[in-house]
């Protein structure tokens, strides 16, 4: 029953006690304590001028909302200040390197934002007549063409709203295709290093999930895979480059083995940024792959979303893709929005046509780089990761031999005996002005530290980052444990008590509980 994700989640004794300078206000220079919206505003206040309009006739059928709702309002200056103060408590890619492995935090060009806000894109309705949205359909058509060409795959479904939604799209097409050939299969194979969304998605499609171990080179154990492949296996889901930051060098043998067993090959394209313009997944024997536009193609992460997860498909799966789709008709572009009894589409994944705002941003990024620039993106990302790997190899413990692709994986062996954990190390990075790397993922190594610098960082930034990491590693080994246990000391808040949050969930503001907190 043991799970390797265990780590301290309460601040603990060693870190308790106020270490920050006391002020009369609780503010600390540019750092403001900011109350909740509900403590600042009141129900009568508003930052929007709207006329009071007497209703000629009420047609609500006697169902008027009469009870107080409890919403708080702010005037415009109060609202601007409240949210601006909150924004300053965030780290962001605009402020510095964001080396989260497997998350791909690259620069978000502002041209993308400007283009997405053109009224011709932002202010059109998904159900307007097609004759009035030919430019929007063109964006979808051109984006689809770029994605198909970059991946060497013949079909694309744009509508999935994020990576996990794309996985669902891919697996549903696989299941539909297998059922169409009368081949009921029950198992999906997933490497143990996979993102959690892979097994979760397979389960959602009604599949039993079996885990495939990694070999000592951080790649799929081909022997173990071959052993599991059989007539009950519907698909193998593989991330390539994988979550250890390594290219699966036996990919062609894997594809042959999967297809040889009558199964289909799904690729999690979360790490496509490492190979875009250099390798076409279609040449690797892949049948379906989602592409996170918010990773490879620079659409902003926005603090957790929105994303966009188009899926490209091989010839074998092309007939089964979901609606809607853009097609060329006699009068221009048009949308296929319905599943007809005659076609094989597996259905519809979202109400409208997907993340148009993200399509525009991604297309602006693609057009800016072009075929030559996207190739360079992959090369610079891989170069930067290997530079970090080289710079840290002496002080930290790389988990596998290089070269790596776009991210470098380390484990916690270098911290053995120091009393410092991966978590402590990450929190100390915050004090040094950096967002930490991905920690405790992938699960195949102990105390994982996964670093992805991306192509957006200058050599100067990479050098600063490497120097800070080396200094911290030396401090840990020299016994300066306190630096790590009290960290972060210089962030807007100190280590937060996740245990209490989970034991006694407080998930919304309530007047009485806020008074308690303010005591």
């Amino acid at each position: 029953m043991m799970n390797r994700q265990g780590r301290p989640t309460a601040p603990g004794e060693a870190t308790a006690g106020a270490t920050t300078a006391m002020t009369f206000t609780g503010h600390r220079g540019l750092e403001h304590e900011e109350p909740l919206l509900f403590e600042l505003g009141d129900p009568g206040r508003s930052g929007v001028d709207l006329p009071v309009m007497a209703s000629a006739s009420n047609r609500l059928g006697g169902l008027e909302r009469t009870q107080a709702i409890g919403l708080a309002g702010l005037s415009e200056p109060e609202a601007v200040r409240h949210f601006t103060r909150l924004s300053r408590k965030n780290y962001a890619i605009d402020m510095g390197i964001f080396p989260l492995g497997s998350c791909t935090m690259k620069h978000n060009p502002r041209l993308n934002e400007k283009m997405a806000r053109l009224p011709g894109f932002a202010d059109i309705h998904p159900l307007q007549p097609e004759s009035t949205v030919q430019g929007a359909l063109q964006v979808m058509d051109v984006l689809g063409h770029w994605l198909r060409t970059l991946t060497g795959m013949p079909a694309v479904a744009l509508s999935p709203k994020a990576g996990a939604h794309g996985e669902l799209c891919g697996l549903m097409a696989i299941r539909a295709a297998l059922e169409a050939r009368g081949d009921a299969r029950s198992v999906v194979l997933v490497p143990e290093s996979a993102h959690g969304t892979n097994p979760a998605t397979a389960a959602l499609c009604g599949y039993q999930v079996k885990s495939i171990p990694a070999n000592d080179r951080g790649r799929v154990d081909l022997g173990a895979l071959r052993e599991e492949l059989g007539p009950d296996v519907a698909a193998f889901m593989l991330t390539n480059p994988n979550t250890c930051g390594l290219f699966e060098d036996a990919i062609l043998e894997i594809a042959d083995a999967v297809h040889g067993a009558g199964a289909l090959f799904y690729c999690d394209g979360a790490n496509f940024n490492a190979i875009v313009g250099k390798v076409r997944p279609g040449d690797l024997g892949i049948d379906a792959m989602h592409i996170n536009l918010h990773k490879t193609f620079s659409t902003p992460h926005g603090g957790g979303g929105p994303g966009s997860g188009p899926v490209v498909f091989s010839e074998a799966l092309a007939p089964y893709i979901p609606v809607p789709n853009v097609v060329h008709g006699p009068d221009g572009l048009r949308l296929v929005e319905q599943v007809n009894e005659t076609d094989a589409s597996f259905g519809r994944l979202t109400a409208f046509h997907g993340q148009m705002g993200m399509y525009v941003r991604a297309l602006a990024y693609m057009l800016s780089h072009g075929a030559d620039g996207l190739r360079r993106v992959a090369e610079d990302a891989v170069l930067a990761a290997n530079y970090v790997l080289a710079g840290l190899s002496e002080e930290l413990t790389p988990s596998f031999e290089g070269p790596c692709m776009h991210e470098a994986l380390f484990d916690d062996r270098f911290l053995k005996g120091t009393g410092v954990t991966t978590l402590d190390f990450a929190k100390a990075m915050i004090d040094e002005g950096f967002h930490p790397m991905t920690m405790y993922f992938p699960l195949v190594v102990q105390g994982a530290m996964l670093i992805e610098p991306t192509e957006s960082e200058s050599k100067r930034t990479l050098d600063e980052f490497i120097a800070a990491m080396v200094s911290l590693a030396r401090a840990a080994k020299s016994g300066d444990v306190e630096r790590f246990k009290r960290a972060p000391a210089l962030a807007p808040v100190r280590r937060l008590d996740e245990t209490t949050a989970a034991r006694r969930p407080v998930l919304r503001w309530l007047p009485e509980e806020s008074e308690e907190a303010a005591r």
């Binding site: 994700q5 265990g6 989640t9 996740e498 245990t499």
Partner: protein
């Protein structure tokens, strides 16, 4: 009274054909602060090895497997209010459920206290 252990770090203490099940001190230390426990409904029947309960820390969820076959006769409702009992008193107040043994001979496959102590020593 007889106590036995599994390799998954569950313990079962048997009295009059009814076993009380929980997780060991080693298990609670590995889990970290327990924040939630899902116990089975009374009357539920398990075969040895079935998933019988779930214990969650902030960053992990682990299944508790039935150490023996049988029917659940009681569940520790106190864990809903105070999951921390699994940390503070894993072998007593932090028990999960009681099970009426279908086949007491299944206990023979489990470790006794000394064997479990050696088993844990081998892990550390």
């Amino acid at each position: 009274m007889d106590i036995r252990f599994t390799e998954d770090h569950e313990w079962i203490r048997v009295e009059d054909g009814v076993g009380t099940v929980g997780v060991t001190d080693y298990a609670q230390r590995q889990l970290g602060d327990v924040v939630y426990v899902e116990v089975p409904e009374v009357g539920k029947a398990f075969t040895k090895g079935d998933e019988s309960a779930v214990v969650e820390s902030v960053k992990a969820a682990s299944e508790i497997y039935a150490p023996v076959s049988g029917e659940v006769t009681a569940a520790n409702e106190g864990l809903a209010e105070e999951p921390a009992l699994v940390n503070s008193s894993p072998m007593a107040d932090g028990w999960f459920y009681k099970i009426r043994l279908a086949d007491p001979s299944e206990l023979e496959d489990l470790m006794d206290e000394a064997a479990y102590k050696d088993f844990v020593a081998g892990l550390e």
